[in-house]
């Protein structure tokens, strides 16, 4: 299994290489996406590779001419990557409505990065009620048309197959999380997040192959349950591998989360009864919401319950600096946890500047606090 996990980490550390190789091998198109509200199943059904664009820890050079420093480093470094022509293998970019910064990033990207295909679709911010649902479906249909115009037709069979493949992937990731919760010693949280991360950049069938092997190995592993402090992660993106290693190093691990590239990515299955696009839309509608959405299954609503169910004894808020939607949720989410007696730690990070020593001290001190409570 270590071989599989090493391979996963290799892909994780150079996603562009994977995408370029895939392109060469299949002759297919690669579409860059920035948000978990994009219905990837459609893109895959059209034979293209949905490629999640992440931030970079490299220092920013070009994007400073387009974006002020008071917006999140995900936007700034992602824009920088494309301006430095590191994303030339992309054939297009898709932006769906996320937050104010991403909305502007889409315009700036379109005006400066110039891919063949640029699609914006604006899902509602209101995620509840008939009216918004109708609009939601219309936008998804509009998006499908735009995709088809660029990638060719998406027939029902292809879409159904794509949905099944995605559902399998989600199911396997769900199993992975469950195994981790049952015995945190089985696999490091760095490996767990690496597996979700690579799912967002790899062809799903290939990734399913890897996941099946990993999950089946984990099921047959006999590891004793140790003394690791179990933590629950809250935030938008978790792709700071150094940070995850620090957590494990000081005796902790993340067993469950609300991250955009964590549980939120794979939560829920697409239930195919009737119109397929509607089914895809319904999953997005009913899955745990991002703080950018209002109503419905709002972000922190059932946080204490999720924490308790996972077995975690403490929460780490790992928040990207200048991410307003999460920053607005933090005070009341923390209060909910305080009221339930669940301790939490708040760490603010920016791409490329997570100070290892100081972060380690914070996490360590937090774990000392948790251990103190236990004794």
């Amino acid at each position: 299994m270590n071989e599989e996990l090493d391979k996963v980490k290799q892909i994780r550390d150079d996603p562009s290489f994977y995408a370029k190789t895939w392109k060469e091998r299949t002759g297919g198109k690669v579409i860059g996406i920035f948000c978990s509200y994009v219905p990837e199943e459609l893109i895959a059904a059209a034979g293209a590779l949905p490629f999640r664009v992440f931030g970079s820890n490299k220092p920013v050079s070009r994007s400073g001419a387009h974006l002020q420093t008071y917006c999140c480093s995900f936007a700034r470094t992602a824009l920088d990557s494309t301006l430095r022509r590191e994303l030339e293998f992309l054939d297009g970019a898709v932006f769906t409505h996320t937050c104010d910064t991403m909305q502007r990033l889409s315009d700036i990207w379109r005006l400066n990065a110039g891919f063949d295909f640029h699609a914006d679709f604006v899902l509602p911010v209101r995620f509840g009620g008939e009216l918004a649902w109708e609009y939601h479906l219309h936008e998804l249909e509009g998006f499908r048309s735009r995709l088809e115009a660029f990638l060719g037709g998406i027939d029902a069979n292809k879409l159904e197959k794509s949905i099944q493949t995605y559902n399998t992937n989600r199911g396997l990731l769900e199993e992975l999380y469950m195994l981790k919760c049952q015995n945190p010693e089985l696999i490091s949280c760095e490996d767990v997040f690496s597996l979700v991360y690579t799912s967002m950049i790899m062809e799903k069938e290939e990734h399913n192959g890897i996941l099946e092997k990993v999950v089946s190995n984990l099921k047959s592993e006999r590891k004793n349950k140790g003394q690791k402090e179990e933590l629950f992660g809250v935030g938008s993106i978790m792709d700071q591998w150094e940070f995850l290693r620090i957590i494990e190093d000081v005796g902790g691990t993340i067993v469950d989360d609300l991250f955009c590239n964590g549980r939120r990515y794979f939560e829920g299955q697409v239930v195919c009864n009737g119109d397929l696009l509607e089914a895809v839309g319904r999953r997005l509608w009913e899955r745990m919401a991002c703080p950018c959405k209002h109503g419905g299954k709002s972000f922190a609503k059932d946080l204490p319950e999720r924490v308790k169910n996972s077995g975690a004894k403490g929460v780490i808020f790992f928040l990207l600096k200048f991410c307003d939607p999460h920053a607005f949720e933090y005070p009341h989410a923390k209060k909910m946890l305080d009221d339930c007696g669940i301790p939490s730690l708040h760490i603010e990070f920016e791409y490329g500047s997570l100070p290892a020593g100081q972060t380690r001290t914070r996490v360590e001190a937090f774990l000392e606090t948790l251990r103190g409570r236990r004794d």
Partner: protein
């Protein structure tokens, strides 16, 4: 005699009275039968006025807090509760005020019975109003106006249009009164009239020398933002318009000597309005137009009030993509014959500020006119360095002369 560089507008007294009466009325109604609704600056206030609900604008209050330098104290309260100091300063100051009952008016803003949030200005208001909904434990209606990238869609327009009906039902539930189409039509008419007058006032600045600067407009916009749809506001702008026309007749400019004409972009720096206003005026620079006050100069077709209103609310300056914003700025630069553009890179407002760098380059490239970008925050004076800014503004004005 001390010659001020800057001519004071006579109608200001009436405006202050209008606003004072408005706040007093609102405060008096707190806790009574007459409902109070907190609404965002881009929200469809006409519905509230038609239902006899008093609208309160936390953003307008935010401007007052900035101008009176109370914003920092209130923002600190929110920050102590865990709200990041990187969040919008209007929201921080308002949340601080909501938590403590402090504010620019005695006793703080009158508490809301419900909230109306329209996200045509930004996504921050959604989160801000969600927090207010928790603090005051009152219902929140989100009027969702989808962002327009390059072009709008029919189903987006439908979505917004149909939300008007939902809003009406919500208001009926909240006020326990029936919505009167007749009353709404009256209000819409008054709103159209006020907006039309406001547009005329702003258009007077096309004249050289301009009878008003955008610093004046920032102050005199309060009624059109907060009380649009009432008769008082129509009367007020008639007064203001008359004074502007008088100045033009007599060849009087707002500043002593108009050497340069500039366009301003973004929300004003509320706590530095006077000092900045004087600085520009003293150096012969008249800010003749801006993208902020023109946001309330929308087009409404009185024959189709609901659909044209929905369209207007969706199409405001902040809800459109950067290339569309550029077109509007270009139009201002042309119509007002500007010599340059001053852009406030406002830490608190991402939709307004992100994209300014690209717009600035395009404006200069297309018109040859220079652009000055100044970094500050609209209400949080901790992010403002007067000394540094003065130097840059003076250098910019000097460069216009060459």
């Amino acid at each position: 005699m001390d010659k001020k560089p800057y001519l004071k507008i006579k109608a200001t007294e009436q405006m202050k009275q209008l606003m004072t009466e408005y706040y007093i009325e609102a405060k008096t109604c707190e806790g009574t039968e007459r409902p109070i609704c907190w609404i965002t600056s881009g929200g469809p206030v006409e519905f509230l006025i038609a239902m006899d609900v008093i609208p309160i604008y936390p953003e307008n209050h935010g401007a007052l807090l900035g101008a009176s330098k109370m914003a920092v104290e209130l923002a600190e309260i929110a920050e102590q509760r865990g709200f990041s100091s990187d969040l919008c300063s209007y929201a921080r100051a308002d949340i601080g005020g909501a938590l403590t009952g402090k504010g620019a008016i005695p006793g703080g803003l009158p508490k809301p019975d419900f909230l109306l949030c329209c996200n045509n200005i930004c996504g921050t208001v959604v989160k801000w109003y969600e927090e207010l909904s928790r603090i005051f434990d009152v219902p929140l209606f989100l009027f969702d106006t989808p962002f327009i990238h390059q072009r709008n869609t029919e189903h987006a327009r439908e979505y917004v249009r149909k939300q008007c009906n939902e809003l009406i039902l919500f208001l009926e539930k909240m006020t326990k009164k029936e919505f009167s189409e007749e009353k709404f039509f009256e209000v819409a008419l008054l709103s159209v009239e006020a907006v039309s007058l406001w547009k005329e006032v702003l258009a007077k600045a096309e004249h050289s020398p301009s009878p008003l600067t955008c610093f004046d407009a920032f102050i005199h916009m309060a009624p059109i933002v907060t009380l649009r749809g009432t008769k008082k506001v129509v009367d007020y702008y008639k007064l203001l318009l008359a004074e502007m026309e008088e100045r033009i007749r007599n060849g009087i400019g707002a500043i002593t000597e108009e050497k340069f004409r500039l366009v301003w972009d973004n929300i004003p720096i509320w706590y530095a309005m006077r000092s900045l206003g004087n600085l520009f005026a003293e150096n012969g620079a008249c800010l003749v137009a801006d993208t902020y006050t023109t946001a309330w100069a929308v087009d409404i077709d009185i024959d189709e009030p609901l659909s044209s209103m929905s369209r207007a609310y969706q199409n405001i300056y902040l809800n459109i993509s950067i290339d569309l914003m550029l077109e509007r700025i270009m139009d201002l630069v042309r119509r007002y014959r500007a010599d340059g553009l001053v852009m406030h890179s406002n830490r608190s407002c991402k939709p307004y500020s992100l994209g300014q760098y690209d717009i600035a380059r395009e404006v200069t490239s297309r018109t040859g006119k220079p652009v000055l970008i100044i970094e500050a925050d609209m209400t949080d004076s901790r992010a403002y360095s007067e000394a540094h800014l003065r130097e840059r503004i003076l250098a910019f004005i000097e460069s216009l002369g060459k």
